[in-house]
């Protein structure tokens, strides 16, 4: 040993097991904190990629501005890229609407959602790109010529120089897209072009975008409507001033704070366990003549050595957890989650991991040092076996003695009690906070409804039931279901009178409608002709059981309201009294229907293009056929990304909870091993020992749950009001199910946490436990 600090490795060698547990705690905390931050980072990146893919990587857009203004903006030092995106004019090609876009190559590739998949970019006014599915449906290839009706009604011939990637929004609207060079667009532009045209700006990295936008606005005297920001993208870059984004930032800050506290509490709790033992060695050092400063050095070095071991492993583990989450998403579907980054590092995650690992360990290990300097050196080494000097005796009157002592053990150590209560409470608070994120996810990026069609057909003329049967026969079609709709039906009842849209459902749709039912039931509606369902609207007077008269073209009909639905999937406009859903039988009795107004088709698997073409062939050319496959899968992937990360966080929080409780209980039992041995020698049975430790644990859990709820529920409510109530008008409700789940989880982990140490004590012989060094 060269200096007194050489004692540290020696000390660690003797207390190898304690040392290993401390390192493990550090490792786990670092892993969890890092995983949370890295996963959040990855989720943001994948959302950012998604927004860039579906909206283009522009930060702000100018509308209705002079070319001169655009010129000046583009020469600003903080502007990286900018360019005109001309849109808004439409033409016709083979009986279908074609939407024109004009831009130069760089602008199209960087500042819009559009991509060129094949060929070269048009450079002459009579050259164009056409979207992939249009090329396929028309049997065209690169180099061919097409004749298009341009906005002024004349015919114009274009040479196709390349292929434009399909976009979900285009397929869904059942239109085609054509991209021209700037010159080409300006040649055909009509008055609609002014509305759709924007000058898009991408700022340089590190620019203060909000300030720049303000400057540009002032400099050119632009109105609010003339400059808009790409809210979603700026939001993810932390550069948005929109309300919802500000609310999200605030919530992110709260979550970060809670996660950091959870990490701190976890490490502190694990360190607190060997405080007594450490206090002794520091006291001994002081006894032998070490100054306070030397003791401090000793402590800091000891903490750093443990961090040095725990932090790298923790970082590695956190990285693996993050990559595993990304891989999980990729494995669900590689194309859908193409925006999820794979094997990338998150600087934020790594930094927070390191900070948590080192800083908190120091904070946690300074407390024994403080304690050591406070108690007299003699007291520290004479070693009373007590964790704390008790001021009063345990209450053995209220419960059986073992229960009473267990509760007393829990309540007597102030710091221990605080740490344990905090571990439980913070877990509950975190859980409740993230619960809001789950609600947000479900509201903001809803998963696809079971009734959502891959292809939706609407036809004012009506589609005959025969066609539906034909469609069902096509290979690759899973389900076909139609609705007949009749708008402006006048309806009267005692409570309300007005118009409604009558919609017919068939078997499948009634089955799905059950999920949407607010009140009543759907059973009688499908078969009979006397019952109807109505859609919910604000201020509705109707109740389940009310009688309503339908004044239909085929005579008046008196029907009963059997149920109220929260939403419907009708395609037509609602009447003043919303929608009325009835069976096909009732509809036909009421309206002289020509056929289905809307037909939804679900494909087996994701369905192939051939299937969609086969469907097209069955229908007259003027039917609108919306191919929703791409847009459905886009919204699905947003949901899944959100779900995997948010549920991932919840899982990590649950793990923190379990680990924290596990670790703290273990430590608490370990600290009293000798005392338990003494009690057993006097005749305490294993069952009683179990009860005593359980009473201690349950006391922590109960206090923690109460504290957690006291702070967590208002937090939940506040976050809910910030994030959800304002946007969707949903009113806050006590998240009873989540609350129950986390409370059960807490108590469940308590049970797990005490089994192990008790088994350990049982295995130790009583003689050995009593002989243990105090």
């Amino acid at each position: 040993m060269k200096s007194y600090l050489g004692l540290i490795p020696q000390y660690e060698r003797v207390h190898r097991k304690n040392n290993r547990i401390s390192v493990l705690c550090i490792m786990l905390s670092v892993c969890l904190v890092m995983a949370i931050f890295s996963m959040a980072d990855m989720a943001m990146r994948s959302q950012k990629n998604y927004f860039i893919k579906t909206g283009g990587e522009y930060h702000a857009a100018l509308h209705d501005v002079e070319a001169e203004t655009a010129e000046q903006v583009s020469s600003r030092v903080d502007v990286d890229l900018s360019g005109w995106v001309y849109q808004g004019s439409t033409g016709m090609l083979s009986g279908k609407a074609v939407s024109f876009v004009g831009a130069n190559e760089e602008t199209l590739e960087s500042l819009t959602e559009m991509d060129v998949t094949d060929g070269v970019y048009p450079s002459l006014p009579d050259e164009a790109l056409l979207n992939e599915s249009a090329m396929r449906q028309l049997g065209l290839s690169v180099g061919d010529y097409v004749t298009v009706t341009v906005p002024d009604g004349t015919q114009k011939q274009y040479r196709l120089t390349g292929v434009l990637a399909d976009m979900g929004s285009m397929l869904k609207a059942d239109i085609w897209g054509m991209t021209l060079c700037e010159e080409g667009f300006l040649a055909i532009a009509d008055e609609n072009a002014a509305d759709g045209t924007t000058y898009r700006i991408q700022f340089k990295n590190g620019a203060h975008i909000q300030e720049s936008i303000k400057e540009i606005k002032e400099q050119f005297g632009l109105s609010d409507g003339q400059i808009s920001e790409n809210t979603a993208l700026l939001g993810l870059m932390g550069q948005s001033e929109s309300n919802i984004m500000q609310a999200l930032y605030l919530i992110a800050a709260i979550l970060v704070f809670l996660v950091l506290i959870a990490g701190t509490v976890m490490i502190s709790a694990s360190f607190h366990a060997n405080v007594l033992e450490r206090t002794k060695i520091y006291g001994l050092l002081r006894c032998l003549g070490a100054s306070r400063k030397q003791v401090k050095h000793f402590v800091i070095l000891q903490g750093l050595r443990q961090s040095a071991k725990g932090v790298p492993i923790g970082l590695l583990a956190g990285q693996i957890v993050t990559w595993a989450a990304c891989l999980l998403l990729k494995s669900i579907s590689g194309d859908r989650f193409s925006e999820v980054p794979l094997f990338e590092f998150s600087i934020v995650g790594i930094l927070t991991g390191i900070v948590v690992g080192f800083l908190i360990v120091l904070l946690a290990s300074l407390s024994p040092a403080k304690k050591a300097s406070r108690v007299s050196p003699v007291a520290a080494i004479s070693g009373s076996s007590q964790l704390t000097q008790n001021k009063r005796a345990a209450n053995t009157k209220l419960f059986h003695v073992e229960t009473g002592m267990g509760v007393f053990h829990a309540l007597s150590g102030k710091k221990n009690l605080f740490l344990m209560t905090c571990s439980f409470a913070i877990s509950i608070m975190l859980f409740l906070a993230f619960q809001v994120m789950v609600v947000f996810l479900n509201q903001g990026m809803p998963a696809l409804a079971p009734s959502a069609g891959d292809v939706s057909i609407t036809s004012a003329m009506g589609i005959e039931p025969l066609v539906i049967e034909e469609m069902e026969a096509i290979e690759g079609v899973d389900l076909v279901f139609g609705r007949m709709e009749y708008g402006g039906l006048s309806v009267s009842s005692d409570a309300e009178t007005g118009t409604a849209t009558l919609v017919s459902y068939e078997e499948n749709q009634f089955k799905w409608a059950k999920e949407e039912l607010n009140e009543g039931n759907t059973d009688g509606v499908l078969g009979g002709t006397g019952d109807i369902l109505v859609s919910y609207r604000d201020g509705m007077q109707w109740k389940v059981g009310d009688a309503v008269t339908l004044h239909t073209p085929l005579g008046d009909k008196r029907v009963k309201i059997a149920g109220i639905l929260s939403s419907t999937n009708a395609s037509g406009e609602a009447g003043s009294l919303g929608y009325i859903i009835c069976s096909e039988g009732l509809f036909v009795e009421s309206v002289d229907a020509a056929g289905y107004t809307a037909v939804d088709i679900q494909l087996a698997g994701s369905g192939s293009d051939e299937t969609v073409s086969a469907i097209r062939r069955l229908l007259p050319a003027d039917t609108s056929i919306a191919d929703k496959r791409l847009s459905n899968s886009e919204s699905q992937s947003s949901y899944y990304t959100g779900a995997v990360f948010i549920y991932g966080f919840l899982l990590i929080i649950a793990l923190i909870t379990i680990f924290n409780i596990f670790n703290s209980m273990n430590a608490s039992v370990a600290a009293r091993t000798r005392q338990y041995g003494v009690m057993r020698s006097i005749g305490m049975g294993t069952g009683q020992l179990y009860k005593m430790i359980a009473a201690e644990a349950v006391t922590y859990a109960a206090l923690g749950c109460v504290t957690g709820c006291i702070f967590g529920v208002p937090l939940n409510k506040m976050m809910f009001q910030f994030l959800i109530a304002g946007k969707w008008g949903t009113s806050w409700q006590l998240p009873a199910a989540s609350l129950l789940l986390i409370v059960l989880l807490c108590f469940g982990s308590v049970v797990l946490a005490i089994i192990w140490p008790i088994q350990k004590i049982r295995k130790l012989s009583i003689v050995d436990t009593i002989k243990l060094q105090q």
Binding site: S384, S385, Q386, Q389, N390, R392, A393, A394, T396, H400, V401, E402, M405, F408, H409, S412, Q675, V678, M679, R680, S681, I682, G683, M684, G685, T686, G687, Q688, S765, I766, V767, I770
Partner: protein, 227 residues
């Protein structure tokens, strides 16, 4: 009838080179109300004997009958209850429960048995032990001698068949030591309490009814101490 019967008790620690025969065929018996002291060199196996006879530890072979019952044939649960009711322990290092006050510590074995402590008996014990004024004090507020007296009270509380005392005076000065020995002796006489006590002090050993000597794991009955 003998309250304690020990037959061919053996206890071996370790194996091969490091084997230690802590108890080597020990047999002896104790009648009710006897006050026995056990003496011997350090490491001769005294504590081991007491722990095995008190059912805190298992022997390698041999039998221990307390009140006619073979204690090692009992399942663990029954043994715990049996020990709680029939064997009291007094340790060198007191081993009181720090969270409980004097009175609670004394009645602790009864509380573990879910019995209501006999108020009169507890009062009497407190009186004899000289702890009446200290009944609400915590162990940390007592002197060593007082703590050991509480431990004696605890051992007596359940009126066990035997009390095992392992160097009860080891941590006390001579005046307190003498007090503890006198107390044990009077208890033995007053309640016909059987006591097995290990001691290093020849004078204390001589105060017992009978002295047993351990040498390298073997026991020799020295008989009634020569006065």
């Amino acid at each position: 009838m003998n309250i304690l019967e020990v037959q061919n008790l053996c206890k071996t620690y370790g194996k091969g080179e490091t084997e230690v025969r802590a108890l080597d065929n020990v047999s002896f018996s104790v009648g009710k109300g006897e006050f026995i002291s056990i003496v011997g060199e350090s490491g001769s196996g005294k504590s081991t004997l007491l722990n095995v006879v008190g059912a805190l530890d298992n022997p390698t072979s041999g039998e221990v009958l307390i009140d006619g019952k073979d204690i090692f044939s009992m399942p663990e649960k029954r043994l715990t209850v049996f020990r709680r009711q029939n064997i009291g322990f007094i340790f060198q290092s007191f081993n009181l429960i720090p969270e409980l006050n004097v009175e609670q510590n004394i009645t602790f074995p009864l509380l573990l048995d879910y019995q209501k402590p006999d108020k009169k008996y507890v009062e009497e014990l407190l009186g004899i032990l000289g702890l009446k004024e200290r009944r609400k004090h915590l162990p940390s507020e007592l002197s060593g001698g007082q703590q050991q007296r509480v431990a004696i009270g605890r051992a007596l509380a359940a009126r066990p068949a035997i009390i095992m005392a392992d160097e009860p005076t080891g941590n006390l000065d001579s005046r307190n030591s003498q007090e503890v020995i006198t107390l044990l002796k009077s208890m033995s006489a007053k309640y016909r309490q059987t006591i097995l006590m290990i001691t290093h002090n020849e004078n204390h050993a001589e105060e017992a009814d009978r002295v047993l000597r351990m040498t390298d794991g073997r026991l020799k009955d020295l008989g009634v101490a020569a006065r």
